[in-house]
């Protein structure tokens, strides 16, 4: 069973719909017990990173997410909060990834970064099995995770940023696989089929 974390932010239903369409066994939850009982975790996030972290604290999930060894997929803000810090609301993150998120420069590019952008594959990873290089995924973000040692894919919006990351059992995608057509479903399916 996949624990689909719902901390009250909004896009859980869309991720659930996508999981349903690929026949995944999931449970929408925010309980520590369900997460402990699950095989994998999907953590979708939208809105503000500071708000997300606050909710995780209230739900008593911060330490659990930090120490558990199961595969976890963070989506959008769910990936951003894996960083040490977020410039958004100047909040502390989970500290799984090094560094801080940053904001796109509104004097140079349109912010939010909204729409379909190409994803360049940097390192081979099962998450992108069967997915061609440089195809489009859907984004809606004002903040980004700068490129770091764990980036496995990148996109460009004024600068190159992390489109996807992988560190140990942690996976993150900045784009919305649940809103990225067939390619997005493929990424979700690849995560689900991880051994």
């Amino acid at each position: 069973m996949i624990a689909l974390i719902d901390y009250g932010a909004g896009n859980t239903a869309s991720v659930a719909n996508a999981l349903k369409s690929i026949n995944a066994d999931y449970k929408i939850t925010n309980s520590e017990k369900d997460i402990c009982d699950s095989e994998k975790i999907i953590f979708p996030g939208v809105g503000e990173a500071g708000f997300t972290i606050k909710k995780l604290h209230l739900l008593n999930l911060v330490n659990l997410l930090r120490i558990m060894k199961k595969p976890l997929l963070g989506i959008c803000v769910g990936m951003q909060v894996m960083c040490e810090r977020s410039k958004e609301g100047n909040s502390a993150g989970l500290g799984i990834l090094p560094g801080s998120t940053d904001m796109f420069d509104p004097s140079a590019v349109k912010v939010p970064h909204m729409g379909w952008n190409r994803v360049k594959l940097l390192k081979e990873n099962v998450l992108f099995n069967g997915i061609k290089d440089e195809i489009y995924f859907y984004y809606a973000n004002s903040f980004y995770v700068p490129l770091n040692d764990y980036a496995i894919a990148s996109s460009s919006h004024g600068l190159e940023f992390s489109a996807a990351v992988k560190k140990d059992n942690y996976y993150g995608v900045q784009f919305h696989p649940e809103k990225s057509g067939e390619a997005g479903l493929k990424v979700l399916n690849n995560f689900i089929e991880l051994a």
Binding site: G10, G115, N117, E178
Partner: protein, 251 residues
């Protein structure tokens, strides 16, 4: 680079597409869900639903529609039409909508932009703005274009962004329904003025009109309704045309 977006708009009433009675290829011509799925398959980048249901049942039917649409399409969609409460925004987003568009309600209560973008993120809040050229200047109209506000249009656009809107859906009332092309003069200035993506609406009649809006005004997205409903333009063919002419679109 983010690709330019093509967005079909569906006017819905009680869960049915209002202008959609003449379709050839759909069994249930008026079903918003069925039309959404067709657009998704044809390569639409996003969809916009404008609910014009007037009854008290509005909220229920709209929520039901959002749930059904979210089950069948895997691209983002925006819902608008008479949304004025934070609670309504929350239920629509939770039902599967990615964004809400706010029009009359934010003119009456600009603080709603601030509150909603703070709570749900700017990326979920679209300022829908209807403008008309009046007495040498552009004026904002509300209530489906029936009521003038006396508000200068560029000033209002800028203010919605300052308050937290993540996108502007700009409809030119002068061009709407004319098929004479988007209001490039206004759009050009607006794109330079604001830092958020601008969606052009009102006036599309040919594929060249889309090209002009992307090329000359540099808008991020173009919206159209009847052109797609009546299959005057096929989305995939339109996108291929744009691509051939150097516009960065997703094929």
């Amino acid at each position: 680079m983010v690709s330019k977006r093509i967005i079909p708009c569906l006017d819905v009433k009680d869960g049915r597409v209002v202008k959609g009675t003449n379709f050839v290829n759909l069994r249930d011509a008026g079903s918003a869900v069925e039309l959404s799925e067709r657009y998704y398959r044809e390569g639409a980048d996003e969809l916009v639903f404008l609910d014009i249901t007037a009854s008290l049942e509005k909220r229920k039917t709209l929520l039901q529609l959002v749930k059904e649409v979210a089950e069948v399409i895997r691209i983002p969609f925006t819902v608008g039409g008479g949304i004025s409460q934070l609670n309504d925004i929350e239920s629509l987003l939770k039902a599967g909508a990615d964004k809400v568009s706010l029009n009359t309600s934010i003119v009456k209560n600009p603080d709603l932009i601030k509150q909603s973008s703070k709570q749900f993120g700017s990326q979920a809040i679209v300022a829908a703005i209807d403008v008309k050229f009046v007495n040498g200047g552009y004026e904002v109209f509300i209530k489906g274009g029936t009521e003038p506000t006396g508000i200068e249009a560029f000033e209002w656009c800028r203010k919605t962004v300052d308050l937290g809107a993540g996108e502007i859906l700009l409809t030119s009332m002068d061009r709407d329904g004319t098929k004479e092309g988007y209001d490039l003069r206004f759009l050009n200035e607006l794109v330079k003025l604001v830092s958020v993506p601008v969606i052009a609406s009102g006036g599309a009649g040919t594929k060249e009109h889309f090209f002009e809006a992307f090329q000359d005004a540099d808008v991020e997205a173009c919206l159209a309704a009847s052109l797609f409903h009546y299959q005057i333009l096929n989305i995939m063919e339109l996108k291929k045309y744009l691509k051939q002419n150097g516009v960065n679109v997703r094929l």
